[in-house]
Symmetry: C2
Subunit: 188 residues, 2 copies
């Protein structure tokens, strides 16, 4: 499903950047995204998640779809602290590969409690550094991480290995093992 759309519409822009902005981010195929959310929800069904956590902007759609399928709220970390957020908020930083600088992640303590069981969902699992920033926020809230899900994994960027130490299931709906020489090669 996702793989077919990547083959049909995805473009390898070089430097590991996959253009999927006609169906995943910028323009979102709502039905495809809901199907992706339902599949992620199915894979984590036994984990007892009470909240889905993601990072704005492109994580919102897959995380909302997953949360809807699980019947739980979704929280998206803000990258600029809004005026509505309490002064004492969780703040982490993560390097962004596509943006080339550090991004900040802010989450209000009003939205994650120590008894929460958090499923982290993002559109891409690449280096895993944004997701690791979200996991550090889960830890600082005293909540329990129960899983990490992504729509598309770029397995050649090592994120799965970087996140393995957290000891939770990591699921991606499709994995790309190489984007060398302008190609897009999927894992088996």
């Amino acid at each position: 499903m996702i793989q077919q759309r990547i083959l049909a519409e995805g473009r390898n822009l070089g430097r590991g950047i996959l253009k999927v902005d006609t169906f995943i981010n910028h323009q979102v195929d709502a039905r495809l995204m809901m199907a992706a959310g339902e599949e992620l929800a199915r894979r984590f069904a036994g984990r007892g998640a009470t909240r889905v956590l993601t990072a704005e902007i492109s994580g919102i759609a897959p995380a909302l779809a997953t949360a809807l399928a699980l019947g739980v709220p979704v929280v998206y970390a803000r990258k600029v602290k809004p005026v509505t957020m309490p002064a004492e908020s969780f703040r982490e930083t993560a390097p962004s590969h596509t943006k080339g600088h550090l991004v900040e992640l802010f989450v209000s303590p009003e939205t994650i409690a120590a008894n929460d069981r958090i499923l982290v969902v993002d559109d891409f699992l690449a280096s895993g550094q944004t997701i690791a920033g979200l996991v550090r926020i889960v830890e600082r809230a005293g909540a329990t991480l129960v899983g990490i899900g992504a729509v598309i994994e770029k397995s050649f960027e090592g994120g799965r290995e970087a996140l393995a130490g957290y000891g939770v299931p990591i699921e991606a709906l499709v994995a790309i093992r190489s984007m060398d020489n302008g190609r897009i090669e999927f894992a088996e």
Copy 2:
């Protein structure tokens, strides 16, 4: 539904800023948002929308829910032009009340065609200036605007009047007529 949640969890922060970040933005009640999207879809059911257009960030959740209910894609205007977007993109600016400066809105011409019928959806209808920026993008794409929807209208900010000239139905699920003196007063 929305009104009850605003009464229970919304907070008037002054200067017309309504804090709804435990159920509309930042944290999103996925089921409430899907119900809001279904209601907006019902109100615009006869308008033949082929796409929903919104602006990142907080517009994404209600627009995705509406698009899912209508069975059409959703496009969110980016506020920072991503590396994946073509050089020749639609660009508009709009003043942001809560941010106090101009925001830019970028939409790829790959996502809106001249034969599209566009429903614009956002979380808030306040001054209407962000929505007007989106409508100008619809016009520049040569597409047809078929309606404007919002979850929450702040009717005291005049957005409905500012947008009336576009001659399309404008729908909000709940309207607040005053936030004076720390109160939140709903329209009838």
